[in-house]
Every structure is written in C-alpha cells, then in structure tokens.
C-alpha cells in the first residue's frame, strides 16, 4: 500500500498544479506557463502509471479489481487521451478543463471509503486468464503475469469512459464558446478558447474513440460472463446501463453523421451521454444491486 499511496499523493499534487498552470496559461497567456503545464502533465501520467504498477505489484494481479483502482485507471486514460489531443492539435486551453476534471477524479478516489480501496485477493468469478497467454508466458517462467478477460474488459471500458469524459469537457467548452460567439461578448478568457467549430469536431472525435471502446468493453464482458456463468447477457443493471449509454452515443453518432447535426444539439446529447456514463460507473455500483457490486 505504501508505495502506491505515495505515488497517488504525488500524482494528486501534479494534477492540481497542472490544472492551475493550464488555467494560468489561459488567463495570462504566458508561453512558459503552458509549457510547464504540459511537462507536468507528462510527469503526472508517469506517476499515475506508477500507481497502477505498484498496485499490481502489491496485490499480485492487474490493478483493475475495485473502485479505487478503476478511478486511477480512468484518470490515466483521460490523461493519455488529452495529451494525444494536445500533441495533435496543439490547443493547451482544453487542458485547463481536463486537468480540473482529473483533479476532481483524484480527489473523489482519495475520499472513497476504505472498503473500496483495500487490496483484496480476487474472488472466484474474477479469476480469468487467457490459456494461450499463460502457456506462452510459462515458457519463460512468467505465467503469473498473464492477463485475461477481466483485465481486457475493464481496460477497454475505461478507455471508453475516459474518451467520453474528454468529450464532456469539450462539449461544455463548446457551449460556453458558442454562446459568447452569438452574443459577441468581449470576455478575453472566452475569446481565447479554440473556435466553436473545432471544439464541436474534437468533441465528436472523442466520442468516435469512446464508442467502439465501450462496445469492445461490453462484448468482452459478455465473453467473460459466458465463461464464468454460462450466459453472455443477463440484463444485470451494469450491463443494462452500459447498453443505455451505448444507445445514447449511438443516437449521437447517427444524428451527427447521417442527419448532419452539429453544434448545440450535439453538445447536449454528449452531456446526456456523459450523465449516463457517470451513472453507469458510480450510480450502478452504489445504488443498484447486481454482479458488478464489487467494482
């Protein structure tokens, strides 16, 4: 627990400072502030990776088995997604929004009650490893590092969540920006946001990443459920909510790609989708009973 906790504390501090630097860069428009913020985001990514690695070393299994670990994975995914976006499009102002989301996510992970954080051995249903991988790794004596459907399922699902979170941030920025554009406001801070067409397009791109990853997460969950319980779909609340979320984003994509929706209506659908994600992730775990009650 000690090392992973240490890296968690470091990461938390890095995210808060990165958020402040990005906001500073946005408000004061100093080049060095933006550059430091980006550098710190990379350091935070490294540190977050170390949390996951240390958890894996401490528990002896991939760090995807409880709510706390999944939060860290979520933060990691959002950071990777954001840095890719910044690298490709070079807009640092988005970082102000994303790093605030990251800091809040880290805070909520830190505030989780102990039972969602403690390292527990895997219960029978969670023990799933790919035979072919075990056999392959056994040749070099590393079979205990084999992964399986659990790890694949959680990882793909959370990459999806992370992409949706980024799209959520972009949609909020879009709504702020497009309102200012309509009113012709003179607020300096809002004026320096990327233009609304770009925010709209980037929000869509994030969903175009999240949607297939969520689908792969759902399908891999079904494959695993078929191994563990003999049924690939049982309308468990988590399963149903994942489908609900998927339906909302499917509606988004059809409205956008086929019917040509742009702008506000898309942004609101994206907000609705993220509400479903939040409920899928937290609401179902805390409120509704079911197979996923442990994570």
């Amino acid at each position: 627990m000690i090392l992973s906790l240490l890296f968690f504390t470091f990461s938390f501090i890095f995210y808060v400072i990165a958020a402040l630097l990005y906001i500073g860069n946005w408000v004061f428009k100093k080049r060095w502030l933006g550059q430091t913020a980006t550098a710190l985001s990379y350091i935070a990514l490294f540190s977050t990776s170390l949390i996951l690695i240390m958890r894996a070393a401490e528990s002896g299994h991939a760090p995807f088995s409880n709510l706390y670990e999944s939060m860290v994975l979520f933060v990691w995914g959002v950071n990777v997604g954001y840095l890719a976006l910044e690298y490709k499009h070079g807009v640092k102002i988005i970082g102000a929004f994303v790093m605030v989301i990251e800091s809040l996510a880290m805070l909520s992970a830190a505030l989780l009650p102990y039972r969602f954080k403690s390292i527990e051995p895997l219960n029978p249903a969670l023990q799933n490893k790919w035979h072919w991988l075990v056999d392959l790794l056994a040749k070099v004596g590393l079979e205990k590092y084999a992964i399986g459907w659990l790890d694949f399922h959680v990882f793909t699902t959370f990459i999806g969540y992370a992409a949706f979170a980024i799209s959520f941030g972009l949609s909020i920025m879009y709504l702020i920006k497009s309102r200012a554009e309509e009113k012709g406001g003179t607020n300096q801070a809002i004026a320096s946001l990327p233009d609304s067409t770009m925010l709209d397009e980037l929000g869509y791109r994030a969903i175009a990443w999240g949607f297939p990853f969520l689908a792969v997460g759902i399908v891999s969950g079904a494959v695993w459920a078929n191994y563990a319980w003999g049924t690939y779909w049982s309308w468990d609340p988590k399963e149903t909510w994942s489908l609900i979320t998927w339906f909302v984003y499917a509606a988004y994509l059809h409205a956008r790609v086929t019917r040509g929706w742009r702008g506000k209506r898309c942004a609101y659908l994206s907000l609705l989708g993220f509400l479903a994600v939040v409920f899928l992730y937290w609401g179902v775990s805390f409120i509704l009973p079911g197979l996923h009650a442990y994570a």
């Binding site: 051995p121 029978p124 297939p212 690939y232 149903t240 609900i244």
Partner: protein, 464 residues
C-alpha cells in the same frame, strides 16, 4: 413513386417501407430503448409477486404485472421495440447500401468538371511559377507521400488528377449494422433451441444430462482458500460417461473454466451439503447403566457397521438436516436444507436380526430410547456431510453466431472510425500568370485531420 392507380397494398407497402427507411425512427428507437431500459434496472427483475407488493403496494404491483415490468426485457412490448429496430436497420441497409456500392465501383474518373472543385468543402486555387510538367510531378509526389491511389489524364494541355484512399471506410457502418442483426439472431437461436438447467451432483454421484445421450459424474469437489481464509476457487472434477459406462473424458472445472462436450457447457455454479444424505454418521453405543457412551464409530451411508464390544451393528438409511414431524400426514420432512436439527434413521441389528429402526437426533440425544426392551442406547454424535456441486448446464448454439457478430462488429468499428474515405481532385492548366492549379478534396469524417493533409498537399504543390 406511388400513384393513385397503384393497388392499395402497394401503397401500404410503400408507406411501410418509407416508415422504416427513416433515421428519425432510428433516433426515436435508440432514445426510447435507452429510457425504458432504465425502468428494468430500478425495479428489481424476476422477484416474487409478494416482494413487489411489499415495496410498491397493491395498485402499483398491478401496473407492474400488467406491463410485465417485473420481467421487462422479455415483455412483448420491449421485444416489439427491438423488432422495430431490426426492421429499421434492414430497410435502411437495403436502401443505402446498393447505391453506395455502385458509386464506389464507378468512382474512378480522370475527367471531371474543374468548376465543381470550388464547391468542395476543402478547396484552393493558386498559381505556381513552374511548368505544368513539374507541377504534375509535385502532385504525384504529394499524393504518394500521403499514400493516395490516383489516376490522371491530359487533354489540350490541361491535366486532371483524381486521387482516393480509405474507400473501405464507407462500409464500416454496414458491417456494424449487420453485426447487430447477427447478435440478435444469435440470441433468438439461443432461446429457440438452446436450454439452461441446473443440477446438484453429489460426490461420486451421477446425473443424466437433459436432452443428451450421456451422463456426468462428480468425482471430487473441493474449495481452495487464500492464506487469509477467503475463498480462492471452487473446483469440481467431472467425468463424462457415455452409454455402457464408457468414460470419455475427465476435466477439472472451476468458476471461469467450464467443461464442454457435444455442444453443452457445464459450469461450476454453487455447492452445498445434502439435506437428505450424509457421507458418514458417527454413532456411539451407551451400554445399559453407564453414564458415558463408548467412542463413536464411523458409519458410512447405507453400509452396515459393527459396533465393537457388542452384538449390535447399524446402518444409516435416512438423514434429514432440519427434522420435523407432521402430525396430519404422520410423516417426517426437512423444514430446510440448513442443518438446524440433523437427524438420522438407523437400522439396528442384534446379530442378524433387525431389532429397531429409530430416529436419532444430534441436538437431543436420548429423547427416545433407540432399542426397545433393553437398557442399551445409541447416540448420534456427529456426521460428515455429503457435499454436492451445483452445476449449471447450458446448451446455446446461438452463442457462436453472437461471437461471429462481435467479430464483424469489431471489424466494422475499425473501418467506420479509423479508416476515412478521402478524395482529392486536381486540375492544372497553363495560363499567362503561370501554372494555375485548382485543388479540392473531401473526407467522409474527421475534417480536422483532412485539413492538415490538404494543407500538406497544397504546400508540396506550391513549394515543391
């Protein structure tokens, strides 16, 4: 298309087709399915009716039962929504796929109206200070560097270039739609010809597998623990036995590791102790006049065991985990599978002669004399329970169709979201001001990416 002279059924058919060929219907169905699905996660599914009465009261329970909200995902109206979505997908695919396919087959043309370039979402017109030939070379270089395929032609000193890549990306959505149909088909096949069952098998016991010509024997059941005492895994050693006691295969199964034989899967699902059998009972003889009983003797289920130092032998013929006597029917039953009041029934022999068949109670030793007419008594002092393994049996030929659907879907996602159909048109001609270039392009998705690519192509043409 329809006219007044059309027969009514043609008009109706055309209207139905039109109804299903609608993206508004798709959006409506997706959002409706999302919203109604919530109900089934809030109201717990497949509970006893009494449980709903307790939680929601009589009136609401009537509503729940009427609308089948207690088994919502199998209710006819929910199925109807899914069927509407299926027809929606089928009609839209029929309507959109053939024209798209034709357009893709015939898209290659090296002759086009240069005037149309200005209408493309990405377009530029500029002059370059090198000859037409050199500009052509630059265009080819630019297109090659971005891995475009292209064709070109020349007439009257004017050059036409048409370039494309990622055509297959256009078909991603079709693959995804077909995959959804496959997954639904798989689930229909599964519920039509598959079955699910659950059996408890005692250790060394055998069950006949339903709808199959073989049996299953449980050789061993055991639980593994972590050092902390938490359960690590449940394991069963199962043997498939064909007719004529032929042993086909033996496999250790656990949660996440089923046994598969002849299209049927067997899953480790639960375990427990038998309520009507024991592995071994411990019986002690208390000789007449003594206050202490002798050491207990292990008595295997239905096997005769001699009690040492006496003429008695006993056999365990019945066991009930929660013994109860029903006066009305004058019979004994077990109130529950829990060992609340374990009781065994013995056949007691003196020599070869059956002398009594008493019930003995673990918690109430000596309440009834076990052998009539003598002072000797028997004490039921303990037992080794018989474990059973709960095995879920599942035959679902639809599963494979679902997996094929899943693979098609993955393939479709790669095409739909990560392969973009890009097309570029270039027209070059020589004028007084130099070589005039009209450059235009489109992408079906990801405009931001294409803007950069377009800029790169333009830069190469302008600056070499």
């Amino acid at each position: 298309m329809t006219t007044d002279t059309d027969a009514w059924y043609r008009r109706a058919g055309s209207n139905i087709w039109y109804f299903f060929n609608s993206l508004k219907l798709t959006l409506f169905l997706l959002i409706t399915l999302a919203i109604v699905s919530i109900i089934g996660t809030v109201i717990e599914q497949n509970q006893q009716i009494e449980a709903y009465v307790r939680s929601y009261g009589m009136t609401w329970t009537k509503v729940i039962v009427y609308l089948r909200l207690h088994d919502m995902y199998h209710a006819s109206w929910f199925t109807a929504l899914l069927i509407l979505l299926v027809f929606n997908i089928i009609v839209c695919t029929f309507e959109r796929f053939p024209p798209k396919w034709k357009a893709i087959l015939r898209h290659k043309t090296d002759r086009f109206d240069p005037g149309l370039i200005a209408r493309l979402s990405n377009n530029a017109e500029f002059s370059v200070n090198v000859g037409v030939k050199d500009v052509g070379g630059r265009i080819e270089k630019a297109l090659r560097s971005k891995k475009f395929k292209f064709m070109s032609s020349e007439s009257n000193g004017e050059h036409y270039f048409y370039a494309w890549k990622g055509v297959s990306g256009r078909f991603g959505s079709d693959f995804i739609h077909i995959s959804l149909l496959l997954i639904l088909l798989g689930s229909i096949v599964g519920s039509a010809i598959g079955y699910k069952d659950f059996k408890q098998i005692y250790v060394d016991g055998m069950i006949k597998v339903p709808q199959a010509d073989f049996a299953l024997r449980l050789d061993k059941f055991w639980i593994e623990y972590y050092e902390t005492g938490q359960i690590r895994q449940y394991n069963s050693l199962l043997t498939v036995v064909e007719e004529g006691n032929k042993e086909i295969m033996t496999k250790q199964i656990w949660v996440n590791e089923p046994l598969y034989y002849k299209g049927i899967r067997f899953y480790q699902s639960s375990y427990g102790t038998a309520w009507d059998r024991v592995d071994t009972a411990y019986v002690a003889l208390k000789k007449g006049g003594k206050t202490e009983a002798d050491d207990p003797v292990p008595v295997k289920w239905e096997e005769l065991a001699k009690l040492p130092g006496s003429a008695y032998s006993v056999r365990v013929v019945s066991y009930l985990s929660d013994f109860a006597y029903d006066e009305r029917t004058n019979s004994v039953t077990s109130l529950s599978p829990e060992p609340n009041n374990p009781a065994i029934r013995l056949e007691v022999y003196k020599g070869d002669k059956l002398v009594s068949t008493p019930w003995l109670f673990l918690k109430y030793p000596g309440v009834f004399p076990s052998i009539p007419g003598v002072k000797d008594d028997l004490v039921f002092s303990g037992y080794r329970p018989l474990l059973y393994s709960g095995i879920s049996i599942n035959k679902d030929p639809g599963t494979n169709i679902v997996w094929v659907g899943a693979i098609v879907m993955g393939f479709g996602f790669i095409l739909a979201f990560f392969v973009y159909h890009r097309r570029v048109w270039v027209h070059v001609r020589s004028t007084n001001e130099g070589t005039r270039v009209k450059l235009g392009g489109t992408i079906n998705k990801n405009q931001l990416l294409f803007e950069k690519e377009f800029q790169h192509i333009r830069d190469v043409i302008e600056k070499g």
